[in-house]
C-alpha cells in the first residue's frame, strides 16, 4: 500500500509539478514499498559472508517474535469480537424469531409475504444432516426440517422447492417424507381445507411420487367444482451431491462415448447443449438459495445451476432451520426492507 502522494501520482500519471511520469520514475516511486529482493540465492550468499555479524540474525528473530505476539493478540481480540458478534446476532435472531412466527397458520405466513413484490418461483435450500445423535434421530430431524420448509414454501406461494442434502439420504425415504409433509400440511391447513396445497415429490432419475390416496392436481379440478384454481401445487425436488459435479462427469462420459462412435464432433458441444441436458436431467436455475448454516458454503451444491442464484445466509446463525431466516431470505430476494413487527 503506497502513500497518498504516490497514489495520486499513479492515478494521474503525473508527478507533483504536473510532468508526465516515465516508466523509470514510476518504478522509483514504488521502490520503498516493495518487498526486499528476497531471492533465495543472494540472501544465502550474504548470510555466508557475514555469518559472524550478529545483526542479521537477531533482527529477524525479534521481528518474528513481534509478528507472533501480534498474531496472538489479533486472534485473542478477534475471538472476543467474534463471540460478541455471535451473541449479538443470536439476540437479533431470537427477536426476529419471536416477532415473526408462523404459529402454524398459513394466513400469518401469507400476510408476511403479502407486501413482497416478488416471490421466487424456484426456491432452493441447503439442509445439513445433523452430526450428533444416532442415524435415526438425524434423519428424523432432517425430515422435520424438510417438512417445515415445504409447508412455509407452500404457504408463501412458492411453486417449486428443491432441497439439497449432501448425502442424499432423503432420496431413500421418499414415501415416508411425502407422508410427513402431508401430515405437516394438514397441521397447517386443517383436515379438509379446500386450499390445502397438493404436493408431488421427486428426485432426479426417480419418477415423481404422488401416492394414490392423495388426489393428483388434475383430478382436484373435477372434484372441487367450487374453487378449482385456488388449490396450489408444490413440486419438491430432492437433490444431493451426486447431482452436482458427478452429473457433469456423467454427461461428459456420454458425450465422450458419442464422440468415440463418431456421432458427435467435440466442436458441437456448447453451453446451450449442456444447459438443456442438465436442466432436463436435474433442474433449472433456482432463484433463491437459502443456507441455514453460520456461513455461506455451498458444500457440493450443483455448480451449473447456481450461476445467477441469489444466495442468502444469515451470519453466525446457529439455530438451524428457522422461519425467520426463511422470511428474511424472501425479503432479501424481493429487495424489501424488513421492519420490526408486522
Amino acid at each position: 500500500m503506497v502513500g497518498i502522494r504516490q497514489s495520486t501520482a499513479f492515478h494521474t500519471d503525473r508527478d507533483a509539478s504536473g510532468r508526465e511520469l516515465s516508466a523509470a520514475e514510476r518504478e522509483k516511486l514504488l521502490k520503498p514499498y516493495l518487498p526486499s529482493a528476497s531471492n533465495k540465492q543472494p540472501t544465502a550468499g550474504q548470510d555466508a559472508r557475514r555469518r559472524f555479524q550478529r545483526r542479521p540474525r537477531v533482527r529477524p528473530a525479534i521481528r518474528r517474535f513481534l509478528h507472533w505476539t501480534l498474531f496472538t493478540i489479533i486472534h485473542t481480540l478477534f475471538s472476543i469480537y467474534i463471540r460478541l458478534r455471535k451473541v449479538y446476532h443470536a439476540i437479533i435472531d431470537r427477536i426476529m424469531a419471536v416477532l415473526y412466527y408462523h404459529h402454524r397458520t398459513p394466513e400469518l405466513i401469507k400476510r408476511d409475504v403479502k407486501s413482497l413484490s416478488k416471490v421466487p418461483s424456484h426456491l432452493s435450500v441447503i439442509l445439513d444432516l445433523p452430526p450428533e445423535g444416532g442415524k435415526k434421530d438425524a434423519l428424523e430431524t432432517l425430515v422435520n426440517d424438510a417438512c417445515e420448509v415445504a409447508a412455509w414454501s407452500a404457504c408463501a406461494g412458492v411453486p417449486m422447492l428443491s432441497i439439497y442434502e449432501r448425502t442424499g439420504i432423503l432420496k431413500a425415504t421418499i414415501p415416508h417424507l411425502h407422508r410427513s409433509i402431508e401430515r405437516t400440511l394438514t397441521a397447517y391447513y386443517g383436515v379438509n381445507n379446500p386450499t390445502k396445497p397438493t404436493v408431488s415429490l421427486r428426485a432426479p432419475h426417480i419418477p415423481s411420487y404422488s401416492p394414490p390416496h392423495s388426489p393428483p392436481p388434475t383430478t382436484t379440478t373435477t372434484n372441487n367444482l367450487n374453487d378449482p384454481p385456488t388449490r396450489p401445487h408444490l413440486t419438491i425436488l430432492l437433490i444431493s451431491a451426486s447431482d452436482g459435479r458427478q452429473t457433469l462427469v456423467d454427461l461428459t462420459r456420454t458425450l465422450a462415448s458419442m464422440a468415440q462412435a463418431n456421432k458427435l464432433i467435440p466442436a458441437d458441444i456448447s453451453a446451450d447443449l449442456i444447459d438443456a441436458e442438465i436442466t432436463e436431467s436435474v433442474m433449472g436455475e433456482p432463484d433463491l438459495l437459502l443456507v441455514f448454516g453460520d456461513r455461506v458454503v455451498l458444500n457440493g451444491y450443483p455448480p451449473w445451476q447456481v450461476r445467477l442464484t441469489e444466495i442468502y445466509g444469515v451470519q453466525d446463525h446457529v439455530g438451524g432451520v428457522e422461519y425467520a431466516v426463511f422470511l428474511r431470505g424472501l425479503y432479501r430476494f424481493a429487495r424489501a426492507e424488513m421492519r420490526f413487527g408486522r
Binding site: M1, G3, I4, S7, F10, A23, R26, E27, L30, Y33, L34, P35, R63, L66, H67, W68, T69, L70, F71, I74, H75, F78, S79, G244, R245, Q246, L248, V249, L251, T252, R253, L255, A256, S257, A259, Q260, N262, P266, A267, I269, A271, I274, D275, R295, V296, V297, L298, N299, G300, Y301, P303, W304, V306, R307, L308, T309, E310, I311, Y312, R332
Partner: protein, 418 residues
C-alpha cells in the same frame, strides 16, 4: 464544508513523512503477523461496484474502473505479501460485452494501458515472483489487446511463486463447457493408451508369441489347464490370437502400430499447421512416441482444430486404429474436468470475496467454489476495498481454520491439486 476541510486535513496528516512511515510499518507488521497462521492458498475476488462508486462520486464510469484497478493493486500487494499463492480476479465477463460500446471500449483501452504498464514494470512482478495468466475466451477480444496480453503473460511466465489469474472475457459456464469439450476431445483421440502401452517395457505381441510357443510345447496338458479357472481367460485370448485372419503380420504388430501412429500425427501436423517435427519414415517406436506426445493435453488449446480437421482426424483414427484403443469413457472422473478448467494447476479455492452487496456468483468460479469454499459477500464498493476491510475477512477465515483444527492438515490438503 466541514467534511471537505476534514478530508483535506486528513490527507495532509497522512502525507506527513513520519506518519506515512509509521503507517507503512504498521501495515507491514500486520501482514507479517498474519503469516504466522494459516493463509488461504487461493482467493478469488469479484470486483463489483466500480460503476456504482463512480455514480455516487459523480465520476466517469471509466474513472471508477481506474479506481477499482488501484484497489486491486492494493489488495494484490496484501495477498502476495501474506503468502497467498493464487489470486483470481473477475475482470471482465462475456456478458459485459452487452454494455454500452463506449464503456466496453473504455474498459478495453484501460486493460491495454494497464497491460502496457505491466510489461514496462516486469521487474515488479519478478519481485513478488508473480506470473500473470489470462483466463477466458480470448477470441472475443480486440487484436491489439491480445498482443499486449500475450506480451504480459510471456514476460512473467518464468515466475513460480505466485499466480495472478485474470478472468478476462470469462464466464464459468463457458469454462465448464470448454472443459467438457476438451475432455471429450482427449477421449476421442487414442493418445493416452497408445502412449501408456508404448512406454511399457513389454510388448503385447511378444507375450502373445511366447504364449503361443509355450502352448505348442505344453499341448498335452491342455485339459488340465482348461480345468484351471484362473487361466481360462488367457487361453481364450490366445485362441483368438491364433484365429487372427492375418497371422503373418502378428510378429511385427508393434511396428505396424507405430507406423499408423506416425501417420496420424503427420496428418495432424498438416491439418493443424503446427510446427511439430514430422518424423514419418523413421520407423522406430521411440520416435513415434515423441511425435505423439506433442498433441497431448498441454498443446490442445493452441492447436484447436476447426470442425473439418477434427472430423478428419477422428475419422482417420477410427479407420486406422481399432476402436478398442480409445480410452474408456467410464474412467472419466471429476479430476479430468478439473484439469481442463482454466484455473487448472491452482490449488482449490479457499475464499471468494464479492463486494458491493450483491449476493450471487454471477457466473464466476462455479466449478471451483461449490465445495468447501467460503463465500463472503461484503457491502462495501470495490474501490473502497482495502487492507482494513480485507483484514477482518482474512482473520475470520484464519480463526475458523484454526478452530476446525485444519490448520496443520490444511497444508497437506492444499498442496494437492484437485
Amino acid at each position: 464544508m466541514a467534511t471537505s476541510r476534514n478530508a483535506s486535513l486528513r490527507r495532509w496528516l497522512l502525507s506527513l513523512p513520519p506518519l506515512e512511515y509509521a503507517l507503512q510499518q504498521i501495515r507491514e507488521l500486520l501482514i507479517g503477523s498474519l503469516k504466522c497462521g494459516p493463509i488461504p492458498k487461493h482467493i478469488a475476488f469479484v470486483m463489483d461496484g466500480n460503476r456504482r462508486y463512480a455514480r455516487e462520486h459523480k465520476l466517469e464510469t471509466v474513472e471508477g474502473h481506474h479506481l477499482g484497478f488501484e484497489a486491486l493493486a492494493r489488495i494484490l500487494e496484501v495477498c502476495y505479501k501474506s503468502g497467498v499463492e493464487v489470486v483470481t480476479i473477475y475482470a471482465f465477463s462475456i456478458e459485459n460485452f452487452k454494455r454500452s460500446k463506449y464503456e466496453v471500449d473504455g474498459l478495453m483501452d484501460m486493460a491495454k494501458t494497464k497491460l502496457v504498464q505491466m510489461s514496462q514494470h516486469g521487474e515488479l512482478f519478478d519481485r513478488y515472483g508473480a506470473s500473470v495468466r489470462i483466463l477466458g475466451d480470448l477470441s472475443l477480444v480486440r487484436e491489439d489487446v491480445i498482443a499486449e496480453v500475450n506480451r504480459a503473460v510471456e514476460m512473467t511466465a518464468h515466475n513460480q511463486q505466485a499466480v495472478l489469474n485474470v478472468c478476462f472475457p470469462y464466464t464459468s459456464r463457458e469454462e465448464i463447457t470448454r472443459s467438457i469439450r476438451e475432455t471429450v476431445k482427449e477421449y476421442s483421440v487414442p493418445a493416452d493408451r497408445a502412449q501408456a502401452v508404448g512406454w511399457r517395457a513389454f510388448s503385447e505381441s511378444h507375450i502373445q508369441r511366447s504364449l503361443r510357443s509355450s502352448r505348442r510345447l505344453s499341448n498335452i496338458s491342455e485339459e488340465s489347464r482348461r480345468s484351471h479357472p484362473d487361466l481360462q481367460p488367457l487361453t481364450g485370448e490366445k485362441e483368438k490370437a491364433q484365429a487372427h485372419p492375418n497371422p503373418a503380420d502378428l510378429p511385427s504388430e508393434d511396428y505396424s502400430s507405430a507406423d499408423s501412429t506416425t501417420e496420424i500425427s503427420s496428418q495432424e501436423d498438416l491439418d493443424a499447421n503446427t510446427t511439430t517435427t514430422t518424423t514419418t519414415t523413421t520407423a522406430p517406436s521411440s520416435s513415434s512416441q515423441t511425435s505423439y506426445s506433442s498433441p497431448s493435453p498441454d498443446f490442445k488449446p493452441t492447436t484447436t482444430p476447426s470442425k473439418s480437421t477434427s472430423k478428419s482426424t477422428s475419422k482417420s483414427t477410427s479407420t486406422t486404429q481399432k476402436p478398442s484403443h480409445l480410452p474408456d469413457p467410464e474412467s472419466l472422473t471429476t479430476a479430468h474436468l478439473t484439469r481442463n478448467t482454466y484455473t487448472s494447476p491452482a490449488p482449490p479455492l479457499d475464499l471468494l470475496v464479492r463486494t458491493s452487496g450483491v449476493y450471487r456468483l454471477s457466473d464466476f468460479m462455479l466449478w471451483q467454489c461449490h465445495e468447501t469454499t467460503e463465500l463472503r459477500f461484503l457491502d462495501c464498493l470495490w474501490p473502497n476495498f482495502d487492507l482494513w476491510r480485507f483484514l477482518p475477512v482474512l482473520v475470520e477465515w484464519q480463526w475458523r481454520r484454526r478452530r476446525e483444527g485444519v490448520g496443520g492438515l490444511g497444508e497437506g490438503k492444499g498442496g494437492k491439486v484437485v
